[in-house]
Subunit: 238 residues, 2 copies
DNA sequence: ATTACTATTTCCCGAGTAA
DNA sequence: TTTACTCGGGAAATAGTAA
């Protein structure tokens, strides 16, 4: 599909050639080639746009000069503003799920200086020595989890010691139950499936909220647009 | 005219509802109302967009969930980028005309402290005591002169003394013959018609270039987009 | 070369309606 | 209620061609 039809494409073409500031010289066949439509259609569209007040035409000798009217310019500006607001507003992602107990290995890993120091530095808080495991309740939440994993922007690097190597992780800052600063961890080599997220926070969330297994909790992430789109797209181009 | 047809409007609608991040629940009739088209057409368009790979649909029970695919998102981003580059690139306006001699009153006016000090302060240079009169050669140039007058952003205010009042002016910075800093003056109550511009500069341009009446000169203005569009549109809304 | 008319085809919209 | 089919009318695109 071409997203835009002939008329809109003509307006954009003119704008790209500063047709709001001065006349643009065109021929119908050259424009037709640009737009991928026939010369006849181009001619008709120009006549229509003129009648409808989006452009003015001046035909001198064999040369045609076209200019956007204010109405035409406004139409483009409206569209621009609409797209701008789409691509520049922050997006809020909410995950809901239930607390469950893991094997307790989260506490061990976080306590390792190789992880602890990175978390402290990159997340800006001293993590409680443990992670809260959350099983997502809905398919929607699972999909959003996958989105978040794609756009997670904080990288925790893996490392090695004498005995073994430790894998990397990505994470993204979130709000726990509309209140507490935390981060969602996406661990590279995890034994959990995509329905599980692990949360790290400056406090023991389990204690602070008196959480038992099965209790519902909520995670909210505010995605900044630039981050969101660059990561959404680059992730797939790799 | 509606700038966008059904399909494009659906993609934008989805994007506005964060349909790139998660599924959006819709009904064909609700969407139809939003877009100003029929339920049947909406249904057909959704089927087509799905087939063409711009959206995915999931129909559970009586509920339909729609999401933008990466292809769909890309389509919108492309358009956004295209419009952005239109509305954010600077526009260069060139005026060509011929020098002619006026009555010499430019020198008198500029020498008045009421004007001199404003010019010095707002244009950032000490003006030569005199203006260079230029008669524009083409209709194109005259139209661009009118555009420049609309978007001229530096206001020189009028004032009064015991004897009389002095009118205001607008001006805009320009480059003279691709080289010299200058400004084009748009004087409120001038006896010149729209084919004439007056130029003020830090030097005596006539002397510096050895200009005689009839010599061709060139003025170039670089319009910054924000300025350009806000002035183009607000001027007509007044 | 141009632009743009007329005739034909192709495509699209929406009413009616089924599932 | 939904979604989405068929089908008729009309709009839009192009071929052919005039000016």
């Amino acid at each position: 599909m071409r997203l835009l039809k002939g008329k809109e494409n003509i307006l954009i073409f003119l704008a790209e050639n500063d047709g709001f500031a001065h006349e643009v010289r065109i021929t119908t066949s050259m424009l037709a080639k640009q737009l991928g439509i026939s010369q006849q259609t181009t001619s008709r569209l120009l006549i229509q746009l003129d009648k409808e007040g989006y452009i003015t035409r001046r035909i001198a000798r064999k040369e045609t000069y076209v200019k956007l009217t204010e109405k035409g310019l406004n139409e483009l500006i409206d569209l621009h503003v609409r797209l701008k607001s789409i691509f520049e507003h922050p997006v809020k992602i909410t995950l809901e799920g239930k607390v469950f107990s893991g094997l307790g290995e989260g506490a061990y890993y976080i306590s390792l200086p190789g992880y602890y120091n990175q978390i402290k530095e990159k997340l800006g808080f001293e993590p409680f020595l443990g992670t809260l495991n959350i099983r997502l309740s809905s398919n929607t939440a699972i999909e959003e989890r996958m989105l978040l994993e794609k756009v997670a922007d904080i990288l925790i690097e893996g490392f090695k010691d004498e005995k073994r190597s430790y894998g990397g992780a990505k994470c993204i800052k979130a709000i726990f139950n509309d209140k507490d600063e935390c981060a969602i961890l996406f661990i590279e080599r995890t034994h959990h499936d995509a329905s599980v997220v692990e949360v790290v926070a400056p406090y023991n969330l389990r204690e602070k909220y008196g959480l038992k297994d099965g209790d519902k909790v909520k995670l909210t992430v505010n995605l900044q647009p630039v981050l969101l789109f660059s990561n959404l797209l680059s992730a797939s181009n790799v």
